[in-house]
């Protein structure tokens, strides 16, 4: 009988992964890397499901992970297509350069 990893430690690992992903999204400017970080966050969430499924010996956790995996694949497909399109338009994949949809430039004339 293999010794069970305590649920606290494995959840801490999932949280750590989620944190790494979040920090990646926040500090990266390259949109492809930002998307990879999002994938990490998704995997962290999926891992939390698996940990919960194993803790209560239920199959639901793994079912959810399959769902998340499928969704992540679809998201990457759509996301990469959008990034490709953006690169054609802007000749760049720097997220900080794409701030056209702001409300700062024509400030404070509304009443």
């Amino acid at each position: 009988m293999m010794e069970q990893i305590p649920v606290e430690q494995s959840l801490l690992l999932a949280a750590l992964l989620f944190g790494i992903g979040l920090v990646g999204v926040l500090i990266r400017k390259n949109m492809i890397l930002m998307m990879m970080s999002v994938e990490i966050m998704l995997n962290a969430a999926g891992m939390a499901f698996i940990i919960a499924g194993s803790r209560w010996a239920q199959p639901d956790g793994q079912v959810m992970f399959i769902f998340i995996l499928t969704m992540a694949a679809a998201e990457v497909a759509v996301g990469l297509a959008l990034i490709l399109k953006l690169f054609h338009l802007q000749k760049s994949i720097d997220a900080d350069e794409m701030t056209q949809m702001n409300d700062i430039t024509e400030a404070s004339e509304s009443n």
């Binding site: 926040l26 400017k29 997220a95 900080d96 701030t99 409300d103 700062i104 400030a107």
Partner: protein, 631 residues
């Protein structure tokens, strides 16, 4: 014939509608025909109805014609119904007959004015509204007519609206009478809460059983109704609008501001006489208001330059006599003076209009003069009217009507020596200012060239009114002079008899009559002496400081305008200046300002930077989780 009573106010209304909608495109002769013809037909109808009413009186000496129910709400259902009795017959006769003469006169007087059709349209509307006022069966319908005549008065004072002074006079008249009208409306509301009806007869029938004399409710109602009467009839303290109302054309002054509309207050009080008799203090107030108004306006008339302002103050003063008569319970004497006054004051205004017309819109009497030989018809008719106004004994109608008021203000149980003395002094002043005006206008040297002479359409109404001003008095004569009571006989079923306190005082009556007659002649002599024979004395008096101050004080109508300016207008404009941006509005403006402020605050967060948004989401999540976990 009485079935057709509804046609009396409807005819002028039709005239108004036709002239208002098509007057612009009609020829002047057609406009004249419609404008005067409709009122003429009304007058004819009134005369026929009057003959039938007097020869074969209907049951109860009154006739009601109910047309339809006006509205029905919460138990109150005033109807469109006309009520004819002696009192309303006297009023509709004066309104239609004198109104018709004035329409004929104005068909020439106003013919060359560009707003001829508009003028006759408003005049027709006025006649219609005035007829509704006096024929109304209930106070709601009466209030409709009451406001209708107020509207027409406003429209016609400001008829020459291109001059801002005329428009200001119109506004003043409207606003000042509005003060009274508001009081009257409150009185009507109180009556509704008391009786749940506005039907005049049911109120008058149930009132004596409903109230004990002098109880608070009836006193309140009487005073509120008096407020309406005082506003409409230009009595103290709301008399200030009438002298300014002379900005309108002369026929307007004759019809609205002398003969008919300004006596609506007299009608209101006479119509609701039961209410006033139940409130003795209100009756006393009516008499005091009348007595003080007739004196104040009389003194103001003595110093006026403008012929129409002399007549305006004289109108205020004469309506003061009517109020005095009502106040001492001499109801029919007040109504009789109304009718006679309508004849001679319309005549005087029309005569003054003819003079003004002839002298190229000159209204200053000191620039007239010497017109006696030049305009004989106008002179003689004007003299007849002036004689009636000054109550020259025996020959003029004004003597009989005014003598009755003087006698009752002394002998009625509600009368007193003070009221009689005020009326007596008023009669003396009346003869002074009347003949001052006559002497200055018609005697002496000619000062202004006559520029056009009145034609037949202007002279015939003058002659008819002059004849009425002379013979009208024989409808009602005192005990010792024939004792004819045709007029009070007509009113006997409507208005109560006056209660004489000093009974059997025929000798007193004769003494008072002789005294009044003598002072009248003395007043004429004084007018001749001071303004014709030795004008230097008054001139020197005006040079002294006190004389000049007194002259200015009376010229401005005892400074009432100044007082109201100081007490009401200045504080009001001061307050409005403070409240220019409407303080109450801030309640609704504040939320919108707050939203805009918040928007400007938070719009900075929409910087378009994806990573900021992600951080914002993360922060929000953390905050939400923290709250969910720890709170």
């Amino acid at each position: 014939m009485m079935r057709y009573l509804w046609l009396v106010p409807v005819m002028p209304l039709l005239g108004f509608l036709v002239l208002a909608f098509f007057g612009r495109n009609l020829r002047k002769s057609i406009i004249t025909l419609i404008g005067t013809g409709t009122v003429g037909l009304s007058a004819l109808l009134v005369i026929l109805i009057g003959i039938e009413f007097l020869t074969s009186p209907p049951a109860g000496n009154a006739f009601t014609l109910k047309l339809w129910t006006w509205m029905s709400s919460g138990g109150l259902s005033p109807s469109i119904a006309f009520y004819l009795d002696g009192l309303s017959l006297a009023f509709i006769f004066v309104v239609t007959f004198v109104g018709f003469l004035i329409h004929v006169y104005s068909s020439e007087y106003m013919r060359d004015d560009e707003g001829f059709a508009r003028f006759l349209a408003f005049m027709n509307l006025f006649v219609s509204a005035m007829l509704i006022l006096v024929l109304a069966d209930n106070l709601a319908l009466m209030y409709l007519g009451w406001e209708g005549v107020g509207l027409c008065s406003f429209l016609l004072i400001g008829f020459w609206y291109k001059e801002s002074a005329n428009a200001a006079a119109a506004r003043k008249a409207f606003i000042v009478t509005r003060v009274g009208d508001t009081a009257m409306a409150l009185g009507l509301f109180l009556l509704i809460t008391e009786f749940n009806t506005l039907d005049i007869r049911s109120i008058l029938e149930t009132a004596p059983a409903h109230w004990t004399p002098g109880s608070a409710k009836v006193v309140w109602i009487a005073f509120l109704l008096l407020g309406g009467a005082v506003g409409k009839s230009a009595q103290l303290p709301l008399q200030t609008w009438l002298p300014d109302a002379m900005a309108g054309p002369s026929p307007v002054s004759a019809l609205i501001h002398a003969a008919t509309m300004v006596t609506a207050g007299v009608y209101l009080i006479a119509r609701n006489h039961v209410v006033f008799e139940l409130a003795p203090i209100a009756m006393k107030t009516v008499a005091i208001v009348g007595a003080s108004t007739l004196l104040i306006a009389g003194f103001a008339a003595v110093v006026q330059y403008d012929i129409k302002r002399v007549l305006a103050y004289s109108t205020i003063s004469q309506i003061g006599y009517m109020f005095l008569a009502l106040g001492v319970g001499a109801w029919s004497a007040g109504i009789f003076h109304f009718m006679i006054h309508a004849f001679f004051k319309a005549l005087l205004f029309l005569g003054a209009g003819a003079v003004i017309h002839a002298l190229h819109h000159e209204q200053n009497i000191f620039k007239m003069g010497g017109l006696r030989k030049e305009m004989p018809v106008i002179f003689w008719t004007f003299l007849a009217g002036s004689g009636a106004l000054a109550a020259l004994p025996l020959v003029t109608a004004g003597f009989y009507s005014k003598d009755a008021i003087l006698w009752y203000s002394w002998s009625s149980e509600k009368g007193s020596l003070f009221l009689w003395a005020a009326a007596f002094l008023g009669a003396f002043i009346t003869s002074i200012y009347t003949f001052r005006m006559v002497f200055i206008t018609f005697w002496g040297k000619m000062k202004t060239h006559i520029h056009l002479r009145p034609g037949r359409a202007m002279l015939i109404p003058l002659v008819v009114l002059a004849v009425l001003s002379i013979i009208g008095g024989f409808l009602e004569t005192p005990h010792n002079l024939g004792h004819i009571t045709l007029f009070s006989g007509m009113l006997s079923g409507v208005l109560p008899e006056v209660h004489i306190l000093h009974s059997g005082a025929e000798s007193t009556e004769l003494i008072l009559q002789v005294l009044t007659a003598l002072t009248g002649f003395f007043g004429i002599y004084l007018a001749w002496h001071f303004w014709m024979k030795k004008p230097g004395f008054l001139f020197r008096l005006k040079q002294t400081r006190a004389g000049a101050a007194l002259h200015h004080w009376w010229l401005t109508g005892w400074g009432f305008d100044w007082v109201y300016d100081l007490l009401i207008i200045r504080p009001f404009t001061w307050l409005s200046n403070i409240n220019k941006n409407d303080i109450v509005d801030y309640i609704s403006i504040a939320p919108s300002n707050l939203v805009v402020w918040l928007h400007n605050l938070t719009r900075r967060s929409q910087n378009g930077n994806l990573r900021w948004y992600a951080a914002g989401i993360a922060l929000g999540l953390i905050i939400t989780l923290t709250i969910a976990l720890f709170l």
